[in-house]
Amino acid sequence: MPHLLSIDLLLIAACAWLVIGLAGLAAPRKFAFISRFLFPAGAAIAFGVGVVALGSLGKAPETAVLAIGLPNLPFHLRLDNLNAVFAMLLGFASAGISIYGAGYFRKGEGTAPGLLCLEYHLFLASMLMVLLADDGYAFMVAWETMALSSFFLVTTDHRHAEIRRAGYLYLLIAHVGAIAILLSFAVMTGSAGDYTFAAMRAHQLSPFWASVAYLLALLGFGAKAGLVPVHVWLPEAHPAAPSPVSAMMSGVMLKTAIYGLLRVSFDLVGTTLWWWGVVAMAVGLITALFGVLYSTLQSDMKRLLAYSSIENIGLLAVGIGLALIFHAYGMNVLAALALTAVFYHCLAHAGFKSLLFLCTGSVLHATKERSLGKLGGLIHRMPWVAWLALAGVIAGSGLPPLSGFVSEWLLLQGFLFSPGLPHPWLNMVVPVAAAVIALVAALAGFAMVKFYGIVFLGQMREPALKDAHDAGLLERIGLVWLAIITLLLGVLPSTVISAIDAATRQLLGTGLADKMHEHGWWMLAPISADRASYQPLIFLVTIVLSVLIGRQLVRRFYHGRLRRTRAWDCGYYFQSPRAQDTAEGFGQPIRRIFGPAFRMERHLPSIRDERPVYLVKIEDHFWHWIYLPVARLAEAVSGLIVRVQGGRIAIYLLYSFLTLIVLLLVARP
């Protein structure tokens, strides 16, 4: 047997996913076969992808050429440290999501299971190919496959008009983005016509054209990632999709866009200008603040999480911006710090956001309800889901000792160095941007408490919730796996950073690992221990020990007696579930404090109303100021074109004739 390279193994995995998908298509009615065999097999392959990618970190790049596609235009593939990090993310996150999906997908819900199996595994394979692609052509083919397969997955329940609408919006913005990416590649290729990434790297661009390429890439990948103002598809598409698909899109697919942005801005363009970083940071800050503010106001649990994803993408863009600024001034160690924060946050977000989306899936199956106003008290009926969701909530709030805190900590450490920037006003403005990060993190905590408190805690808001059941075995395995990832990323930051350091070193020529090896594996001290250090294990051990020892001590010296009775509630007798905060009520302080950030339509009933109606509609400013005018313009233009399109064939022939004459006149030799 010939020696197989890592890239070969990854290609085999992609093919195996395709085979699984086709097998599902071939046996569309054998539901047990698909859910009990094909999906777990896909999960096993995903796990293998993760392991292979992890193993290839720190090794020399491997390349491959696939002779498929157009004549003389083969697919170039390459596995280096940058895409290995993202392939690892893809593998480990989708292993959990697939095994959950095996237990989740049911018969008779929208798309037939066989077709769904094909779409799902095609989506996985195309994401892997996006990461591996080493020329613009292969990249775009994989990118479009990814967009289309995910479009069909989003519209699984295509009988609902709103879901079709969400899918259409997603497809539209995905293509606007794809055009921008294509143009960016074209700019980087120059006139040579060689679309390989190697040629793009070799091609020297003037600062102007390099900036054009960077901005196009920011727009194109930003449209996929959900950066403001091209974020509008995200809060529509994520709730519309089945939960494992939402988890996959939010946890993994958004990261392929981050990968693309990193690939272009740090690798392909070749030069870096400081204001690129400022643009990315400004867009990121706006996105993060926008996302988190809107997520605190949502009353649909999946929309809440979707806006929270926008927030996290914003934080990633801020990290990329900071790294670009440091890189432009040659401060590569600090750029490595910011970039490590970006990689870490990608991994952390893939873990905890997939976990939370999957938890909403279980809630959805158990209760048939997505609206926060009709949930509550599920910790009593769904203890597994509730306790695992708690891990996701803590990580999502960016709190120690779980994963979200590590990346936030690294990012803030990066900001602390920004006064050293050799630029007269950047060194003043950039540190204050850290305050926005702090605000976003604290608001994320607010949104997460709202999500968890309203869904899982309190009294059940509807009597039907009494029949809710916990997640099945396969679903639990998936959730536990993602929770373990979240925990490990939280408590072993140095180990993880030494693994992903190879990618940082590839992009910047320097990394953090050398400094970190001076300390033990339990200690995270990216620059020096005097400067800043963090030991999450001490956090975890101290808190766990004080819970256990505290309980024992109290029992030993006093007693452990406990009685149950009615809630006290300041002596108020008529306690009903409706006295609890609704989702809208919980968000009220935010509406009041950040009022101008929302486009709000409110109708409050007067005292004399026979049938009081209370209505608050929150809309997006961007939708109103950017998208609606564009849509109206498009409609007006189509109206004009309709006049030309009379419907009579003679007229059309006349048009052809006139065009021919004009062409002959213009193209006269």
Partner: protein, 318 residues
Amino acid sequence: MISVSGIFAQLFAIALALVLAPLLTGWINQCRAWLQSRTAPPLLQPYYMLHKLFHKDVVIAHGASALFRFAPFIVFGCMLLAAGIVPTLSTDLPFAPAADTIALVGVFGLARIFISLAAMDVGTSFGTLGGRREMLIGFLAEPALLMVIFTTAMISHSTSVATIVETLAHRDFVIYPSLAFAGIAFTFISLAENARVPVDNPATHLELTMIHEAMILEYSGRHLALIEWASSLKLYTYSCLGLALFFPWGIAGGDSFPALVAAIPLLLLKLAIGGAVLAVIETANAKMRIFRAPEFLSTAFLLAVLGLLVRLLLETHV
């Protein structure tokens, strides 16, 4: 490497925090009573309260889940950890590299999340109201606190509390104008974070004005005792953090036992003065409406940003 004397010093600091925290609360209550012409409760009243509460049966609501019962222990653990991190007597503690100031903010955040979730667990109107308001105060205070930390961190080129204290206390004496701004901002934030007047009133059970008390309405017995103790610990830790950042003189550099003991009287004096100042602030101000709290805390935030800008503009040579 962690030494035996280091572990001893760490345990000593934590034990001291456990003992001193209720005493500080008792002292503040005494000062408040004197200033308001009331007969003061005994200095040891908080200990009697804790003892009584630990003895009492726990009575919880039918709908309370396990989270409700675990949360007091977790909150207490968080506060214990925080008290162990902030240097009170010595800067050379084994816990000192475990967390810097940013992680300290994270520990407080973790405690806040758990107490808010526990407040929402029983599903009463006051519980959710308290949880929501606590998170509101939290997200207003956290950015301001971080800006304060950034200012001090930029002076000492470190976010580690121990290094900050060493820079400010054990080197040449320099006056930093930026620290004045940061100090005022920190005072504002501490008032809000510790549920004191003018943001919240620790003595009220008037329904519409409660924040902290609304969250812990359903707690009783040992759970309530732990929460009260944790609140005292939080106030103690914030006081010690303020002292460490702005008045760090007197904190020992090593971990030898005589040095630790020698640092105690000065710590007690500083805490006593700090407690008296807090009592004066609480007596001189009225509690504000909840929707004035954002103004109060954004003032704190602006002061902290001013401190940062002063640092960046005027003190770059120091």
